[in-house]
Structures are given as structure tokens and as C-alpha cells.
Symmetry: C2
Subunit: 195 residues, 2 copies
């Protein structure tokens, strides 16, 4: 049973995506993936240097979009930053529901791996933007709850079409985010602290 060239590579990737979504990264063994594809574990490791490389290739598109969003965030302040962060993250979360679901709860350990080195910093900046770069606890708490909640939840709405989920989430975020421009005790001089 010979398959077309490089077909196996894609099959492994697809099987890994499914398994990771169901059982998480650590909960899925290379054996599980090989079994679903119908090849040997050695074959999986022939196509991918190791388990981490498999995850990295799976996540690459989502990470690329996250980087783009991070770029678009630079320079934005106040409610403008909140709106860019909200739209950008909701769109990302909806488009990459499955990929995000893979990381469910395994962020801390996974972020230690070199392939995901700066994700933590990007998501920190994202959270900061969604809080309107405010340091009030209410704003920061709301931002974190929303980011975490959307990441966690969007993978469960597989039955809802992209458009509907996106608009519902965006409505929710706009309603839930703590307004920062509006009737605020004017912060005097320093409102952004990073370079």
C-alpha cells in the first residue's frame, strides 16, 4: 500500500490536530496519531523531527496571525487599542478555534518550548491592549477573563458558523470590556510603560 508522495505528512498533521483537540497535547501519544493514520510511530517521527515539531507546524498559521495582530497593536492607546484588540482576537479565535483548543490548559508548559518562546509576551501585550493600557484592576481582570474565556470556549461551539460566532463574541467583548476613555480620572503623564 503505497500512497502518493508527501500525502502521509498531511495525514499525520490532520490526525494530530484531531487527537490534540480531543485529548490535548500531552494526552496524545505518537502511537495514537500513528494508529489513526494507519502507519507506524516510526513513520510519524520520520516526517517530523519530534512531537514538538508536529505541534509547531500545526500552530504556525495561527501564530502568524497572532504576530500580525501584535504588530497592528503597536502605537494604539485607550479605546482604540481595545477595539483593535477585540476585533483582532475574536477573529483569530474564531478562525483558529481548533488550534486554540489544542492548547487548552497546557499553555504554561507548552510556552516553555522554544517554538513558542514569545507567545507569552504577545498575549501579555494583547491583554494590556484590551484593558486599554489601563492599570486599574477592573480593567485588567476583565481583559484576562475575556481572553481566557474566549480561548477556552470558542472550541466548543463547533456547531455555530464563523460569522455568527464572531459577531456574538465581538458584541460580548464590547459590552464587557471596562471603558477606559470615558469618564476617567485623567492619568497625568505616563500611560504606557514599555518602550
Amino acid at each position: 500500500m503505497v500512497r502518493a508522495v508527501s500525502d502521509t505528512h498531511g495525514e499525520i498533521l490532520a490526525a494530530a490536530a484531531r487527537q490534540f483537540t480531543v485529548s490535548g497535547y500531552r494526552g496524545t501519544s505518537l502511537q495514537d496519531i500513528a494508529r489513526e493514520v494507519g502507519c507506524s510511530k516510526a513513520t510519524v517521527l520520520y516526517h517530523f523531527a519530534n512531537k514538538e515539531a508536529l505541534l509547531a507546524e500545526l500552530m504556525a498559521p495561527a501564530i502568524g496571525v497572532l504576530r500580525d495582530l501584535d504588530d497592528r497593536l503597536t502605537g494604539q492607546t485607550g479605546s482604540a487599542a481595545q477595539e483593535v484588540a477585540a476585533q483582532g482576537f475574536v477573529d483569530l479565535a474564531v478562525r483558529f478555534r481548533r488550534e486554540i483548543a489544542v492548547l487548552r490548559g497546557e499553555f504554561p508548559e507548552l510556552l516553555c518550548q522554544p517554538a513558542f518562546a514569545h507567545i507569552q509576551q504577545i498575549s501579555d501585550r494583547l491583554r494590556d491592549a484590551l484593558a486599554g493600557h489601563s492599570d486599574r484592576p477592573g480593567a485588567r481582570i476583565a481583559a484576562l477573563v475575556l481572553l481566557a474565556g474566549i480561548s477556552e470556549a470558542c472550541g466548543e461551539f463547533t456547531d455555530i458558523p464563523d460569522d455568527e460566532l464572531r459577531s456574538a463574541l465581538l458584541t460580548l467583548v464590547r459590552r464587557a470590556v471596562e471603558p477606559v476613555d470615558a469618564p476617567l480620572p485623567q492619568p497625568p503623564t505616563t500611560e504606557d510603560k514599555d518602550s
Copy 2:
């Protein structure tokens, strides 16, 4: 080095709580816990039938409070249900930040274990109540995002005192939940497409 009677039991429990919080349930080995306590792995398994029993004892108080909340929810409808669910869950999340953080992302697998059999149903009811028992996608999405986000996030605010965190979260939830009694755009005939 002999320690007081039944002291070890509590030490193991405390060490397990710390390790689980940092590395998750599956990410923590009995060896890790034993090392932190300063005893052997066999000692851990002398005090607890198995790893699952350790987790169950750790979670028992939080689960009890969750059950109480579930009882208080029965019969409540509309915005009353939303308010009871919001107050109850926020309070629970704040009080048991650490315990909830343990389950980070491991809910699906952990819920299969007999000790946590009905947690899934309870949290489903809780979500339903927070959505005001509405079946509109917007309400259900908001409820899930908030519950997941709070569960995920509250463990990270270890520096914020209980009272402050509780009020901030409650404010957020009340702001974010989709109002269900209030001024609804009267749906003429077909505004929802699922059954």
C-alpha cells in the same frame, strides 16, 4: 525523624495542592509530591489510596460549595437565575482560586473519573442559569465565555485580595451577561435558526 501523628497526611495534601497548581494534575507525579514533602512515594500511597483519591480530597470542599450553589439554582428563572449564578459562581471562584486552577484544562479527562461524575452536569446547569435559561446563541456564548474565563483567570490574581477580586468579577459579569428579561427586540417569528 519522626513526625507527629497524621501530620504527614496534611503535608502531602498541601504539597499536592502546590504542585498541582503549578504543573497541573497530570503534570505532577507522585514522586514530585513525595520529594517536596520529604518522604517516599510509597508513603504518599500509604496515606492516599491512589493519585485520584488525593485529588478528590483536595477538591472536596470546593465541590461541596458547588453543589450548594446548584441547589440554590433550582427553580430560579430569567434574570433572577442569572444573578444567583453570577454571585454564587464568582464567590466560589474567588474562594477556591487555587483548587480551580488545578483543573486548568484537564476538566475533560478529569471529569471521567468517578469522583467527579456529576460536576459536568452541575456546570452545565450553572451555564444555563447564567444565560438566563435562554437558548439564544448570544446568551449561551456569553455565559460559557464568562464561566470559562473566570475559572481560568482567577488563579492568576493571587496578589489581589478576595474582596476586591470578587467585586471586580461581579461587576464584570453583570456588565457582560446578556440581559434576558429586559428590553428585548421582540423577535417576530423566526430569529433563531436552531430548534
